[in-house]
Symmetry: C2
Subunit: 81 residues, 2 copies
């Protein structure tokens, strides 16, 4: 069994309104020194195979929008609990 962690974030330059809103929340709650906030998604997949080409295909076809988003992934073998 393999645990694949996929992190999907907006490409640099793409507007992140949610990040902006969160930054404003921090400021209104008196947190100082918050220079920037970026948001993204994380997926944890439990897979029976660890073939990277399959994982990349999953990322590009289902988990991310290649036009606006970047993705990174890590694959680790786990012993089924």
């Amino acid at each position: 069994m393999y645990k694949v962690t996929v992190i999907v974030t907006l490409k640099t330059g793409i507007l992140d309104p949610q990040g902006k809103t969160i930054r404003q929340s921090f400021q209104s709650l008196d947190y100082d020194g918050v220079v920037d906030v970026k948001t993204g998604k994380v997926y944890t997949l439990m897979l029976e195979s660890s073939e990277e080409s399959v994982v990349r295909s999953m990322c590009e076809r289902v988990l991310s929008n290649p036009v606006m988003e970047d993705y990174t992934y890590t694959i680790e073998e786990v012993v089924p609990s």
Copy 2:
């Protein structure tokens, strides 16, 4: 300057309908061996200070819902670009 990466995931046992939907999408696209899919959020904060108590407070008050979600974070010093 400090880059704080916060990952927020649902606590074990909490229903993840989005994860379930994504898993069904994988099956309908003929990806085999997808045992489970969990979803979560990732935040990248650029902060002027790296005080852990402040970061934890940000996570618990703004970035996550402590009743339903767990969070982890990493802090790394970065040279401002």
